[in-house]
Subunit: 248 residues, 2 copies
DNA sequence: CCCAAAAAATATGTAGACAAAATTGTTGAA
DNA sequence: TTCAACAATTTTGTCTACATATTTTTTGGG
C-alpha cells in the first residue's frame, strides 16, 4: 500500500476520521486516503449498489489520479470484502450471497456481545458521552430524512462500540462486518421493513450506561436478530449470478 | 491484487492449499501466490522473526519477480497484520505489542467457542476424519521434532476447525488471528514452557466427535488460556521498540 | 433474418524507469 | 576524541508505456 501509515495491526481501521475536504488542492492530487474514503462511503451509503462495475481507467480519470493508485485502493477494498476482484475482469461492488449473509450475522452474534461486555468492563463518562453523541447524530439524520446517512450511521454505531471498547482487533473485525452488512441490506432488505429502529441503539446504550452486561448483550443479539429477520434471504431473490452459476 | 482470484468475500482465505513446487519453471516466474505463500509460511514458522526487515528490491531478486509484485504481496500481508508497513521506511515482520496480544486472545475466546458450536451442529464423518487427519500430521511433526512445522500446524489446527465449520467469515478471521498468535508466541513465549501440548487438540476433537458442544467449548477456552498463560506479557520483556518508545 | 466467426476496441496485468526520501558513511571542526 | 554537517548510497514511492486477455462490433455465410 502507499501511505496507510500506522502501527502494525490496527492498520486500516480508523472508522470515520479524515473528514477533510477530500480534494485539498483545486486541481491537485487527492491523496490515496481520500479516494479510498470516497469510494468506501459511496458503497456504504448505497450510492454504488452491489454489482456496480468499477473500471480502473474511468475511476482514475474521475479522481484525477493514476491507475496504479486506483488499483491499490481497489485491492484494499477487495481485502475488506466490499469489492469483488475477478482476475481478468476487473472490480465490482461485492454481492454477498444469502449464505454469506447468514454467516456474517452468525459471526456478529458471536462477537458483539463480547464487545459490549468489554466496553462495560472499563466504561467511563467520556466513553458514554461518545456513544450518546453518536445516537444524537443518528437521530438527526433520521429527522432530516437523510437516508444514505442513516444507513451509514447505523453501521457505524456498531463500529463505534468496538472502537470505544478499546480492542483494536475487535474494532477492525467489526468494521468489516458492518460494511458487509450494509451491502447485505442493500441486496436483501425486504421493502416492507421499517428498517433499524433507532430506539434499539438507544436501549443498548442505556443498558451499557447501567453497566448491565447481561441486558446489553441480550438487547444486542435481539437487535441483530431483528435486522436479519427483516431481510429476505430465501435465496430465490438471488439476483441470478450467471457467472457464479456456470463457473465450474 | 493481481490474481487472487476467487469469489467475492472469502478472497484470500485458502488455508494451506497451493503446495505446489512453488517454483514451477526453473528460471520462470513463480506466480504471486507462491511468493505470498512462501513468505507467509516463513513468518509462521518463525524462520523470519518479528522485526525482520523485508526490503523490496532484495525480495524481488530472491524470488525472481518484479518489485511491483513484491509490493502487492507485502501490502496483502500488511493488511492481514503479519507485516508492518511504515510509510517511507519499508516493511518488517510485525511485532504485536503485549496489549495487542491480550486483545487477540480475548477475541479468540469469543470466536472459537462459536466455531466449535457451528462445527458440531452439522458434523459428519468426513469432516471428523479431516480433523483427525490433521491431528496425525501434528503428531508426526512432533515426533520428527520438526519445530517449525509444529508451530505452523498448531495454528492451522484452529484454522481447519473454522474452515470445516463452513463459515467463510469465521475462517478468514481465524486465519488472521492464528497468524498473529504465531508472531506473539515468537515474541513472548516464556522459555520454560513446554508449548502447546498436542493432546489438548486431541481432546477437543474427541469432544467434537461426541457432539458435546459444552465440553468442546470449555476445552477450547481452557486451551487458549493455557497458551496465553505460557506467555510473558509483563511488558518488561518488551524487546524495546526504539521507534515506538521515542516516537511521541 | 439469424447465427457464427473474425477483427477492432477496451480494459486489465506487468514491467521498467524515474524521482524523492531516508539511511549510512565520511569528513571536518571544536 | 567526539559531535555535527555534508555527501553518497540505498530504498521506497510513483508514473508511463507495453503486452495480454476479454468484450463488443462488424462482416460474411447459411
Amino acid at each position: 500500500m502507499t501511505q496507510q501509515t500506522v502501527e502494525s495491526i490496527p492498520s486500516q481501521s480508523r472508522p470515520q476520521a479524515h473528514l477533510r475536504p477530500a480534494q485539498p488542492k483545486a486541481g491537485g492530487a487527492p491523496g490515496p486516503e481520500d479516494v479510498y474514503e470516497r469510494i468506501y462511503v459511496a458503497i456504504l451509503e448505497h450510492r454504488l449498489p452491489p454489482g456496480t462495475k468499477l473500471g480502473e481507467d474511468r475511476m482514475a480519470r474521475i479522481f484525477g489520479v493514476s491507475r496504479a493508485r486506483i488499483r491499490e485502493v481497489l485491492a484494499r477494498l477487495a481485502h475488506e470484502g466490499v469489492v469483488e476482484l475477478v482476475p481478468q475482469r476487473g472490480a465490482r461492488v461485492a454481492r454477498p450471497t444469502p449464505e454469506q449473509a447468514r454467516d456474517i450475522f452468525e459471526m456478529r452474534r458471536l462477537v458483539e456481545p463480547g464487545v459490549v461486555a468489554r466496553l462495560i468492563r472499563d466504561l467511563n463518562p467520556a466513553k458514554l458521552r461518545r456513544l450518546q453523541g453518536h445516537l444524537a447524530e443518528e437521530h438527526d439524520a433520521r429527522v432530516r430524512n437523510d437516508k444514505p446517512a442513516v444507513i451509514r450511521l447505523s453501521g457505524e454505531f456498531h463500529n463505534l462500540l468496538a472502537e470505544v471498547a478499546g480492542n483494536d482487533i475487535m474494532a477492525r473485525t467489526m468494521r468489516e462486518l458492518t460494511s458487509l452488512t450494509c451491502l447485505i441490506i442493500a441486496l436483501y432488505d425486504a421493502p416492507t421493513t421499517d428498517a433499524c429502529r433507532d430506539d434499539e441503539h438507544a436501549q443498548i446504550v442505556d443498558a451499557i450506561g447501567d453497566k448491565n452486561v447481561d441486558k446489553a448483550s441480550r438487547l444486542m443479539v435481539a437487535h441483530l436478530d431483528h435486522i436479519e429477520a427483516s431481510l429476505d434471504l430465501s435465496g430465490v431473490g438471488d439476483e441470478v449470478d450467471l457467472e457464479r452459476v456456470f463457473a465450474g
